[in-house]
């Protein structure tokens, strides 16, 4: 871990819905206690766009559906000591992974894009084009969970994990205690 007295924390949302970050805000006033102990590096919370220096902990929401997700995830892996996959999308791909079900096609990606933008009876897409602005990152052949792309140290299950759960995990990680989440926090049925 880096020698700064405060731990550095970076967070990002890849192919997710920001629900996990919303859940992070659910720690409510405890965020004040949190910033006593950690410095936020890159995160949607402070809108810093690039990791500025090596971090102790990185939280990843969402899996990888495009090249930019991969790029960000790889950067997080390189620059964070401990990488945590937060929520179902990061762990298993989540809802976006439904497109992986198109697998018995000669060209699954094409079929997916046509279904999303051209063929489906429920869409309104007046120019009948698949979006292809050069600024758009290229989409991957399928959705990948984070651990398929880089090594992930911990996973926090949930869709989204509760604020309490994120709080528990974060404080444990910051204090270097082995995680010990009570069952009621990770039991969903």
């Amino acid at each position: 871990m880096s020698d700064s007295p405060k731990k550095r924390l970076a967070t990002t949302s890849l192919a997710g819905c920001f629900g996990c970050h919303m859940s992070l805000l659910d720690i409510d006033e405890r965020i004040l206690a949190l910033i006593e102990q950690v410095e936020f590096d890159r995160s949607p919370i402070n809108d810093i766009k690039k990791i500025t220096r090596r971090c102790d902990v990185g939280l990843i929401e969402g899996g990888c559906c495009n090249e930019e997700n991969v790029h960000t995830l790889q950067e997080f892996r390189r620059k964070c000591d401990v990488l945590v996959a937060v929520g179902q999308c990061a762990i298993m791909g989540g809802l976006p992974v439904m497109r992986n079900a198109i697998m018995h096609s000669d060209d699954p990606l094409k079929e997916c894009l046509y279904e999303a933008y051209i063929d489906s009876p429920y869409i309104q897409n007046d120019n009948h084009q698949i979006p292809n602005d050069p600024a758009l990152p290229l989409i991957l052949d399928r959705v990948y969970s984070c651990s398929e792309v880089v090594k992930i140290d911990y996973q926090i299950p949930g869709c989204p994990p509760s604020g309490d759960m994120l709080w528990q995990t974060l404080t444990s990680l910051i204090e270097g205690r082995p995680e010990n989440l009570p069952l009621e926090l990770i039991k969903y049925d």
């Binding site: 090249e67 991969v70 390189r78 990606l109 050069p134 290229l138 052949d141 792309v149 880089v150 090594k151």
Partner: protein
């Protein structure tokens, strides 16, 4: 065939089986044989005739690998895809058939004459590579014989006339006439001692059912099909469940890859098996028995039918058996249709009832509520043969053979990389080393004891004993030399379970696929240490959460190879200190996208010049 003809043919077949829905398997087998498929029209006709819905018929048709909705060739070639056959050169054989007949595996020729498919182990591992051409078994294929056979088939030679020779023993019997060999390498004192005598049954006629069961308990006999449940206990449970009818079923499904001892018993000691079933009938008061014969052994059916008939003629089957008033018992043969899971006793019962061969929830156990909801005794072929001897020669005699907890002898089928593959009757307690010596396989690098659902052991364990206290086996011993790839074997076995899973439970249906994917990743050199943890954890989940024995044992090849061949795994693992996954190839994942978007990646294409 015109629609009218097809309709008549099907209703005729249904009539032959009494328009009985319970005989669906027989009806479908007959329709498939005549029409080479069971299409929509046939399904409708069958449903209307036997009084059920079309979807019920379709459910059964699509369950069994020997039935097909699409038309198969008049001559259906099924190449045995067992690992032993693969190692014996099946790939080349398969290419020769494809080349000669001009179709690919899984296809039917346009003129409808031929189709080529894979079959799971057909029970001929000691004479691999082997194939089924319709019902005719062809063994010890070579590239030359394969080409010769394919050419003869093309010129119209019927499969039966392809045989240049017939096998040893009863394989030469006029009702069998198969090129299959028994390869009995050791005749033990129980099963292969002398020929069939009928002495056991004659004794049983004068004994009370309770006496018979007590002798079976005293003998210490345990089921020979794999699980080793004490036979006497099973019998007394079946006898003690109140019922007006009870059934005796002989499990001759023999689907575990590498097992072929029941085939040899049925060929050489069929009367002994029938005798054992009849004794069981007396012990539990049953009047109806079934021999569930795997579809791959259909070539033995005419012979077995004749054996049953001769037993009837000598008053050993039928009414008032042995002139004992009221002792009525008869046996029918139920032919399977290519499904390993039907060897599991509750699936086997479903299959006999004309249903999809899916396991049933237990309890109630078959001994309480089995075939047609009556108490049903399911025992292995070998178990019944032992019974006849136990009653003939006494429980004490039987109990004195073998070890403390495993009485008697065991028929063992040995195949793979050994000089003398075949069937060995040996007392329980024989060590793996002794076995390997007999079979000429002392150099073995790995031995799979008990087939894929057993365990893979390494040379340090060859001192272990074949018995329920140590290394249990239903009879399969598969030997692998040092030139074999352990992980290829593991991957193959997982493939086997994947294709044979009935699909009812998610852990079995999906878990085995994930296990296989992970083994594949290891083989490609993309795996890290944590992949081994994953394999172990997932294996345990599949074992603990599957409903029947298939899922409960399917991860065993993974676990036992990890335990006993750790170096094979660790040699292939690679850690990546930077935390990037070797298996993730960004270039590959973007290929399709670049093509569709007609542009390159400005992140990952380094030559991208904007």
């Amino acid at each position: 065939m015109t629609t009218d003809n097809q309709h008549d043919l099907i209703t005729d077949i249904c009539t032959r089986y009494g328009n009985d829905k319970g005989r669906m398997l027989d009806i479908l087998t007959a329709v498939q044989e005549r029409l080479r498929c069971i299409d929509e029209t046939s399904m409708h006709t069958i449903a209307d005739t036997i009084g059920c819905s079309r979807i019920e018929v379709e459910g059964v048709v699509t369950f069994y690998s020997f039935f097909s909705v699409e038309r198969k060739g008049d001559i259906t070639i099924r190449l045995c895809d067992d690992i032993v056959d693969r190692f014996a050169g099946m790939k080349e054989i398969s290419m020769i058939f494809e080349e000669e007949l001009g179709i690919k595996l899984g296809q039917t020729s346009d003129d409808g004459r031929f189709s080529i498919d894979h079959a799971a182990c057909i029970g001929m591992c000691d004479q691999a590579p082997a194939a089924l051409i319709n019902d005719v078994v062809i063994t010890s294929l070579t590239p030359e014989s394969a080409r010769d056979i394919a050419q003869k088939l093309k010129t119209g030679t019927p499969p039966q006339e392809l045989l240049n020779s017939v096998g040893d023993g009863n394989n030469a019997h006029e009702l069998i006439r198969a090129m299959v060999n028994n390869n009995i390498r050791r005749f033990g004192e129980v099963l292969f001692d002398d020929a069939n005598t009928g002495k056991g049954l004659k004794q049983a006629l004068h004994q009370s059912p309770q006496d018979i069961i007590e002798q079976v308990i005293e003998s210490g006999l345990r089921g020979c099909g794999g699980a080793g449940f004490p036979t006497g206990r099973k019998w007394s449970m079946a006898a003690n469940t109140p019922a007006t009818e009870r059934y005796v079923i002989c499990n001759a499904d023999e689907g575990e890859p590498g097992t072929f001892k029941d085939r040899v018993l049925l060929t050489e000691r069929a009367e002994l098996v029938i005798e054992g079933m009849t004794i069981a009938a007396r012990a539990i008061a049953s009047t109806q028995g079934i021999i569930y014969l795997r579809g791959e052994y259909a070539y033995l059916k005419p012979y077995l039918e004749a054996c049953l008939q001769s037993q009837r003629d000598s008053n050993f089957l039928g009414k008032n058996i042995g002139n004992v008033d009221g002792f009525d018992f008869d046996i029918r043969i139920q032919l399977g249709a290519g499904a390993y899971i039907c060897g599991e006793e509750s699936s086997l019962i479903s299959s006999c009832e004309g249903l999809r061969g899916e396991p049933k929830n237990r309890p109630p156990y078959p001994v309480e509520k089995g075939y047609l909801d009556c108490p049903t005794l399911v025992n292995n072929v070998e178990t019944f043969a032992c019974i006849a001897r136990i009653i003939e020669r006494g429980a004490q005699w039987f109990n004195s053979i073998g070890t403390d907890d495993s009485s008697g002898t065991k028929l063992i089928s040995i195949s793979g990389d050994c000089d003398r593959p075949g069937v060995y009757e040996l007392p329980y307690g024989t060590t793996v080393h002794e076995l390997l010596k007999l079979a000429g396989a002392e150099q073995a690098a790995a031995v799979q004891v008990g087939g894929p659902s057993g365990q893979m052991i390494d040379p340090t364990a060859y001192g272990r004993k074949i018995c329920f206290e140590d290394l249990p086996t239903g009879g399969a011993i598969i030997v692998f030399g040092s030139h074999r790839n352990i992980l290829e074997i593991v991957e193959y076995y997982l493939d086997f379970f994947i294709s044979e899973s009935c699909g009812y439970c998610t852990p079995c249906r999906v878990g085995n696929v994930f296990l296989k994917e992970r083994i594949g990743k290891i083989r490609k050199g993309f795996a890290e240490l944590m992949d081994l943890d994953y394999l172990r954890e997932l294996s345990n989940t599949v074992i603990q959460t599957s409903r029947c024995g298939l899922g409960q044992t399917s991860p065993k090849p993974v676990i036992s190879s990890m335990d006993n061949f750790p170096l094979v795994y660790s040699a292939l693992l690679k850690e990546h200190p930077d935390g990037m996954r070797a298996s993730f190839d960004i270039q590959k994942t973007l290929e399709e996208s670049r093509h569709l978007a007609k542009r390159r990646s400005h992140i990952f294409d380094t030559s991208y010049d904007n």
